[in-house]
């Protein structure tokens, strides 16, 4: 978002510019080689999704029906084909130098590469919550998840973070219980809560 002219220009261009058009300022940010290989991965993913949808459609048995001539197979075939076609077109687009614009935002700074040291721990604590939520109950698993996420994102106020985490988990547990009638699992604290 450098100059008003550059900003103001983009919406009008949208109708006419070709696919994958990139406005210079963003291409400059990322290392092209690595990025385009990763982007081919997205095309591959789309291709796989398309094949899976078509394969799944092929095993649907269509009962003859006068009232439903379209049948359950038509839509999957259309969707699978759409995915395959966009996979091919995307691959061609990327090989010819096109690249997607990474999304911007208030707190997003695209000038540094993806910070896996933040993302991977976040995902780790997310998975931990999936594993723990039923055996330990929401209050404990939620506390661990929030505390872990805050830590992953760089906060080092261990005690304050811990208190906030516990407060949030307890508050939502009782809020859902009393306010919405949704009984989140109490887990090992079943007798206490």
């Amino acid at each position: 978002m450098s100059s008003p002219a550059a900003d103001a220009g983009s919406p009008a261009d949208r109708g006419s510019t070709g696919s994958g058009h990139d406005d210079g300022e963003r291409t400059a940010v990322a290392a092209p080689g690595h990025r385009s290989r990763a982007e081919l991965g997205i095309a591959a993913l789309l291709g796989v999704a398309g094949v899976v949808v078509l394969w799944d459609a092929s095993r649907i048995t269509v009962p003859y029906s006068v009232s439903d001539v379209v049948g359950p197979k038509t839509m999957p075939v259309i969707v699978g084909s759409l995915l395959l076609v966009s996979a091919v077109l995307l691959a061609v687009n990327v090989l010819r130098g096109g690249s997607g614009q990474a999304e911007e935002g208030e707190d997003v700074d695209l000038s540094h590469p993806t910070d896996w040291k933040t993302v991977l721990p976040l995902v780790g604590f997310f998975v931990l919550n999936i594993v723990l939520i039923d055996p330990l109950g929401w209050v404990l698993s939620g506390t661990i998840m929030f505390w872990g996420s805050v830590w992953s994102l760089g906060s080092r106020h261990y005690l304050r973070d811990g208190l906030v985490s516990l407060g949030l988990a307890l508050g939502t547990f009782y809020g859902f219980y009393l306010g919405l009638g949704i009984h989140l699992p109490a887990g090992i604290l079943a007798g206490i809560l």
Binding site: V69, M75, L90, V119, L180
Partner: protein, 502 residues
């Protein structure tokens, strides 16, 4: 007269203490998420969906509408004080608004944005109340073939016209349609994309998908690129405007409204085009063109009004046709299906209390927003100081909580993570998320209408083209599809000559 009567009924619905409370919560939450970085009205609605399933539909929708309108007000505060617009609709506001703030005129920029939003929102809502019944009357006379055509038009325009890359738009659309296929086919009972997993037979819960794409994907994406420098926020006092500012603002407000509403109401809705057009118009008509680029108040007043009017416009096809054209409207319609209310033209007949209560609450919410935004702007701006670890950890926390609470099964959290990773990848590689969510919502309905249309014609393909409205819509689709090709061909023909002249 009918409209006025209905509207009065609507006010009676909206003015019950419970619904007023929902409207208040909605506008407060909406302003908050609008101001907060990294979280917008679509994400807020997605996060609230699981909680609202137990509420009464009218109250829930009134709260959602409050968040929708409130997000616009809050969003303009951020873009003026921070110059990093969170949503594409406020990009234009940031241009002049931030320049004004830097020049010490933040108070006036915020005031013209808030009052302009109020004026545009009120007029826009009035237009919505006036036009939606007419659209409904037109739509109920349509058969499935025309309805199918209109939905396809909506799908294609959202995919191809908005966003910068058509290929990536269609890729996203394909993913959304595929996710919508998962589960049992409603007509034949056949399993589709279930792969023998019993938990998939009911399909993926739309709540879980929306939370994954809008909340988890976004939070992970921001975490991966979290700004390390502290952002400079411009301190602000109480918003106010002098006589001269009023004089320079009222015409842009009205012109912005006139541009915003029709664009919002079109199938390729969205606020980018009208806000941009409004900016250009004001620049041309201004008596102070030299101020543009240095903080011209017209450049804030016009686009802000256009933005809010287009929000009201977007609700016209959403309520009258069941056709969502932006993410927030899509999630509002998803909320309706949660309550087993079918969006579409019959909504006005079947749920008059809900629809008119909702429209009336928009008037109320809009007024509340003006009241809470003018005096309290400095307070809202304090939200920008929130520690980022808490904000983004909170989004992941509430996303998990909400997705889990829908069915109380940990499997939904696995789906949440997988689709959250998809949302992350889409943001990284420039795949727009809007076509996915619209495809997910419209896909099953398009399939339903297709089957109905061909059932009526006994399988004859001509059954798809048996109504003039449907045929006209297909002609429009063809025109939109061909126009870029024609323009490119024309440009190619022209360039050699132009070169020869040089």
């Amino acid at each position: 007269m009918d409209i006025l009567n209905n509207l009065m009924q609507g006010f009676a619905t909206a003015a019950t203490p419970a619904n007023l409370l929902f409207a208040c919560i909605g506008v407060l939450l909406g302003t908050a998420v609008g101001v907060l970085p990294g979280i917008g009205p679509a994400m807020a609605l997605a996060l609230l969906l699981p909680i609202t399933t137990n509420l009464e539909p009218t109250g829930a929708l009134i709260m959602f509408a409050g968040i929708y309108y409130g997000g616009m007000y809050g969003g303009s505060t951020t873009s003026i004080l921070l110059n990093t617009p969170g949503e594409s609709s406020t990009v234009i506001t940031a241009i002049e608004g931030h320049k004004m703030a830097k020049a010490g005129r933040a108070a006036q920029a915020l005031a013209t944005a808030a009052i302009g939003s109020f004026v545009a929102g009120t007029i826009g809502t009035a237009l919505l109340a006036a036009f939606a019944p007419a659209v409904v009357q037109f739509a109920v006379s349509l058969g499935p073939s025309s309805y199918l055509a209109i939905m396809i038009l909506g799908l294609l325009t959202v995919t191809a016209v908005l966003g910068s890359s058509k290929i990536r738009g269609f890729a996203s659309l394909g993913l959304g349609l595929a996710i919508g296929l998962i589960g049992l086919d409603p007509v034949s009972g056949q399993q589709r994309l279930v792969f023998g997993v019993p938990l998939l037979t009911d399909g993926l819960d739309i709540v879980v998908v929306a939370v994954a794409i809008f909340a988890v994907g976004e939070a992970l994406w921001i975490a991966a690129h979290l700004r390390r420098k502290k952002m400079e926020t411009i301190p602000v006092g109480q918003p106010w405007m002098g006589k001269e500012d009023w004089k320079r603002s009222w015409k842009p407000w009205l012109r912005g409204t006139a541009l915003g509403f029709p664009f919002g109401a079109m199938p390729a809705g969205g606020a980018e085009i009208p806000t941009f057009l409004s900016y250009v118009t004001e620049k041309k008509l201004s008596k102070h063109p030299e101020e543009f680029g240095h903080g011209a108040i017209e450049g804030v007043a016009g686009p802000e009004a256009a933005n809010n009017a287009s929000a009201a416009g977007t609700l016209t096809p959403a309520l009258a046709l069941g056709l969502p054209t932006n993410a927030t409207a899509a999630i509002m319609l998803a909320a309706l299906t949660q309550f087993n209310i079918q969006p579409g033209p019959l909504l006005f007949q079947k749920e008059p209390e809900l629809v008119w209560g909702l429209i009336a609450s928009l008037f109320i919410g809009n007024t509340l927003l003006l009241v809470i935004n003018l005096p309290m702007a400095p307070l809202w701006a304090k939200l920008l100081q929130i520690p980022r670890p808490y904000l983004y950890a909170g989004i992941l926390f509430f996303a998990s909580l909400g997705a889990y609470a829908v069915n109380l099964q940990a499997f939904d959290l696995v789906v949440l993570l997988v689709l959250g990773a998809l949302g992350f990848a889409m943001r990284r590689f420039g795949l727009p998320v809007l076509p996915l969510i619209i495809g997910l919502i419209l896909g099953p309905r398009i399939e339903g209408q297709l089957r109905k249309a061909l059932q009526l014609s006994g399988g004859d393909l001509s059954g798809l083209f048996n109504e003039p409205v449907g045929v006209t819509v297909y002609a429009i689709i063809a025109l939109i599809a061909l126009a870029p090709l024609v323009i490119t061909a024309w440009k190619r023909n022209r360039t050699p000559k132009a070169d020869a002249l040089l």
